[in-house]
C-alpha cells in the first residue's frame, strides 16, 4: 500500500497517459501506458520543478560535505579546531582575510580556518535538524494516529496536551532545560524534538479524523482487521505524503532553532564548530567589524541551507499533493504558519483545489 489516498488509483491512469509531462495533453499511445505508483508520479512532477531540483542538489551536496568532512578538511590541510597562530593571524593578532595564506574563507579570532569550521558545522546542523525532525515525526505521527483514530477521551486528552505544549514559550523552556542539565548535542536534539512534535501531531490528528470515515477503513474493519492494523497498515500510508512535506519544512525551522540556541551559548559548545556558535564568536566583542568574513560566511551557510529546505518543501508539496488548496493546520506557530502561508499562496494549487473541490472535501 503506497497510496496517498484511496482515490489515487484514478490519478495513475490519468497521468500515465501524459507521456511523463504532467498536465500536458499527449496522444495516448497504448504502448506508453504504464502503471506508476503515486511516488513515481510525484518524482516525475518534482523533476520538472527546476527550483526544487536545484535545492535538492544543494541538500545532497550538504549531506556529502557532512559525511566527508574529515576528508575535505584533510584536503584543505586545516583541521576545524586547529589554531594557526603563525599563518592564521596577522602580527597584531587580527584574523587573516579570505584568500590569504591558503585560508579560502579567512580565519577566526583564534587563527582557525573558517571554511573547515563551516564544513564541520554542516554536520551539527544536519544531525540536529534532521535528527530532531525525525524524532518529532515519529512521536507526532503515533500520537496523532491514536488521538485521531480512537477519538473520545483519549483524543480530548492528547489534543489538549498538544495545545498546552504549543502555548509554552518554546525558546525560553529549551534554554531553561539546557541550562539546568548542561548543554550537549543529544540534549539539544531531544529538547527541539520535544517542542516540535505537537505540530506534526495536530496535523496528523486532523487528517486521521477525516480518513477514519473513509470507505477503505470501513472495508478493513468489515474484514475484521484489528485497530492496530487499520492505523498502521491502512491509514498510515495515506499520511506519508503529508509527513514528507511537513518534515521537509520542519527541518529548516529546527536547524535555525539549533543555531539560535548555539548563538545564545546554550547549544553546541565550543570548540566544536556549529554555525550558530561561530556567529556568536564573531559577535563577541564586535569582532565581526574587523573581520566580516568571520560573520558573513557562517550566516551564508545557514541562510542557504534554510532556503534550500524551504524551497524543496514547497516543491514537494506541489509534487506530492497537487490538489493541495490550503493547509489543515491552524496557523499558530512560526513553523506551521510559514508552511501554511506558503501553501495558501500557491495559486496553481488553489485553482486545482477548486477544480477538484469535491475530491478534497473529505480532507477538510
Amino acid at each position: 500500500m503506497s497510496l496517498f489516498r484511496a482515490d489515487a488509483g484514478v490519478e495513475v491512469i490519468e497521468e500515465a497517459n501524459d507521456h511523463e509531462i504532467v498536465g500536458e495533453e499527449g496522444t495516448p499511445d497504448q504502448a506508453d501506458i504504464v502503471g506508476r505508483t503515486p511516488w513515481a508520479l510525484a518524482w516525475i512532477r518534482l523533476r520538472h520543478d527546476r527550483v526544487a531540483m536545484i535545492s535538492l542538489g544543494f541538500i545532497v551536496f550538504l549531506v556529502l560535505v557532512a559525511i566527508f568532512a574529515p576528508l575535505l578538511t584533510a584536503l584543505i590541510g586545516h583541521g576545524p579546531n586547529a589554531q594557526y597562530p603563525n599563518t592564521g593571524l596577522s602580527l597584531s593578532g587580527i584574523p587573516v582575510a579570505p584568500g590569504h595564506n591558503g585560508f579560502l574563507l579567512g580565519t577566526d579570532d583564534q587563527g582557525r580556518d573558517v571554511l573547515s569550521r563551516i564544513i564541520y558545522g554542516t554536520r551539527v546542523s544536519l544531525v540536529v535538524g534532521v535528527g530532531a525532525t525525525l524524532v518529532a515525526l515519529v512521536i507526532g505521527m503515533v500520537v496523532g494516529l491514536v488521538a485521531g483514530y480512537y477519538g473520545g477521551w483519549s483524543d480530548t486528552i492528547l489534543a489538549r496536551f498538544m495545545d498546552i505544549l504549543l502555548s509554552f514559550p518554546i525558546l525560553l523552556f529549551a534554554l531553561a532545560i539546557i541550562a539546568r542539565f548542561g548543554p550537549s548535542l543529544e540534549l539539544v536534539v531531544i529538547v527541539i524534538a520535544m517542542f516540535s512534535w505537537p505540530y506534526i501531531g495536530r496535523l496528523v490528528r486532523g487528517q486521521v479524523i477525516s480518513l477514519r470515515e473513509r470507505e477503505f477503513v470501513e472495508a478493513a474493519r468489515a474484514l475484521g482487521s484489528s485497530d492496530l492494523r487499520i492505523m498502521f497498515v491502512e491509514i498510515l500510508p495515506n499520511l506519508l505524503a503529508l509527513a514528507v512535506i511537513y518534515a521537509t519544512l520542519l527541518i529548516p525551522v529546527n536547524i535555525v532553532l539549533e543555531a539560535t540556541l548555539s548563538f545564545l551559548g546554550l547549544g553546541v559548545q565550543p570548540p566544536t564548530a556549529s554555525w550558530g556558535n561561530m556567529i556568536a564568536e564573531a559577535q563577541n566583542g564586535d569582532l565581526f567589524t574587523v573581520a566580516w568574513w568571520f560573520l558573513v560566511f557562517p550566516c551564508l551557510a545557514l541562510v542557504l541551507t534554510t532556503l534550500a529546505f524551504n524551497l524543496l518543501g514547497d516543491g514537494l508539496r506541489d509534487a506530492l499533493d497537487p490538489r493541495h488548496g490550503r493547509s489543515q493546520m491552524t496557523p499558530k506557530s512560526k513553523a506551521t504558519r510559514r508552511a501554511d502561508a506558503k501553501g495558501r499562496a500557491d495559486a496553481k494549487a488553489t485553482a486545482e483545489a477548486k477544480a477538484s473541490a469535491a475530491m478534497v472535501e473529505a480532507e477538510a
Partner: protein
C-alpha cells in the same frame, strides 16, 4: 460569548499551573542544594550555604516552595529575585516598556511592508512583480533573526559609521519619555530586523488569502456590474482577505511580547527577553518563572482575543 471567555479563563489558569509547575520541576527537582551554593557567594562554607538556602526559601520541600510561589502570584507578586533580592515586579516594570516599544513598533512596520507587497503579488500573479515579492518573502523567511540583526549592525552601524555617517547607535535603549527622537533612533535597526522577518510571513499570508478571495464569485459579480478594478480589489477583496491577517497579528504580538529574545540580545535592549536570558544564565529561578508566567499569559490571552475577533469579523464562525 461570556461562557466562552469563562472557559478560556479556566483554561488559562490550568495552563499557567502546568507551565509554572514544569518550570519549577526543571529548576528545582534535586537542585535546591546547587542553587543555594550558587547564591551563597564564592567559597561559601556549609553554614553560609545553609543560610542562603533559608534566605531564598530553598530549605523547604518542593511542593511547599511551589505553593508559596503560586500564593505570591495570586497576590500579584512575582517574589524577589535570587541574585540581588530585588522585587521581580520592579524588574518587569522596567523591562516591559522596552519589549512593548520593540514589538509594537515592529508590528506597524511589518504590516506596512508585508501587506502592500502581498497585495501586489496577489493582484499580479505570476508576473515579475509577483516573483519579486516571492523572492523577498523567501529570502527573509529563511533568515534567522540573529543573522539579519548582525548583518544590519555590520552594514548600517559599522560601515555607515566608518563612512562618517553615525546615524544609528549599536545598542541600548532610551525611554520614550526621556527623548522620543532618541527612543526611535535606538529602535530603528531592531524594528527593521524583527519587521523584515515577520513581513515575509505576512506577504505570503496576504497573497494567499487575497488570491483565494479574488477567485470568489462575488468579486466577478462586482467587476461584471461595472465597478472599477481598484474599487473591487480594495473595497471588496482586501477587506475580506484581511481577516486571517488580523488573527495572525494577534498571535504574533502575543508571542513576541513574551520577549523577542534574539533581537533584544543582538541589539542589547534590556527587555523581557534579556531579563529571562540573564535569569537562565544565573540560575535565577524566580526571574525565569516570572517571565514564563508572563509569556504563557500573553500567548493564551492573545489566542483568546484572536478567537473572539475571528467570530466578530466572520459571522460564520461561532464560538463553541
Amino acid at each position: 460569548m461570556i461562557g466562552f471567555i469563562i472557559r478560556r479563563l479556566i483554561y488559562l489558569v490550568i495552563v499557567l499551573v502546568i507551565i509554572t509547575l514544569v518550570a519549577y520541576v526543571i529548576f528545582f527537582a534535586g537542585n535546591s542544594d546547587n542553587l543555594a551554593a550558587r547564591f551563597a557567594g564564592r567559597d561559601a562554607d556549609p553554614q553560609e550555604i545553609r543560610d542562603a538556602a533559608i534566605r531564598l526559601g530553598l530549605n523547604h520541600g518542593f511542593w511547599y516552595q511551589y505553593w508559596h510561589y503560586l500564593d505570591g502570584l495570586l497576590h500579584g507578586s512575582f517574589g524577589l529575585d535570587f541574585q540581588a533580592a530585588i522585587p521581580i515586579n520592579t524588574e518587569i516594570a522596567r523591562a516591559l516598556p522596552v519589549t512593548v516599544s520593540l514589538v509594537l513598533g515592529a508590528a506597524v512596520l511589518w504590516l506596512l511592508i508585508g501587506i502592500p507587497i502581498g497585495i501586489m503579488s496577489a493582484t499580479h500573479p505570476r508576473t515579475l512583480r509577483d516573483r519579486t515579492g516571492t523572492i523577498f518573502a523567501l529570502t527573509f523567511l529563511s533568515m534567522p533573526t540573529f543573522v539579519l540583526g548582525l548583518l544590519m549592525l555590520l552594514v548600517f552601524y559599522y560601515y555607515l559609521t566608518q563612512a562618517g555617517f553615525a546615524w544609528f547607535p549599536a545598542a541600548g535603549f532610551v525611554p520614550f519619555t526621556t527623548s522620543p527622537a532618541q527612543w526611535a533612533d535606538h529602535l530603528i535597526l531592531p524594528w527593521f530586523t524583527l519587521a523584515l522577518v515577520q513581513a515575509a510571513v505576512y506577504t505570503r499570508l496576504v497573497r494567499g488569502s487575497l488570491l483565494d478571495v479574488l477567485g470568489e464569485d462575488y468579486i466577478r459579480t462586482a467587476r461584471a456590474k461595472g465597478l472599477r478594478r481598484r474599487t473591487v480589489i480594495y473595497k471588496h477583496g482586501v477587506r475580506a482577505a484581511l481577516t486571517p491577517i488580523v488573527t495572525q497579528l494577534g498571535i504574533d504580538v502575543g508571542v513576541l511580547l513574551a520577549g523577542a529574545f534574539v533581537t533584544e540580545r543582538v541589539f542589547g535592549l534590556p527587555g523581557l527577553g534579556q531579563l529571562a536570558l540573564n535569569g537562565i544564565e544565573n540560575g535565577d529561578l524566580p526571574v525565569v518563572a516570572a517571565v514564563v508566567v508572563l509569556a504563557a499569559t500573553f500567548i493564551v490571552v492573545m489566542n483568546t482575543v484572536v478567537d473572539i475577533l475571528y467570530a466578530v469579523l466572520d459571522p460564520r464562525v461561532r464560538l463553541s
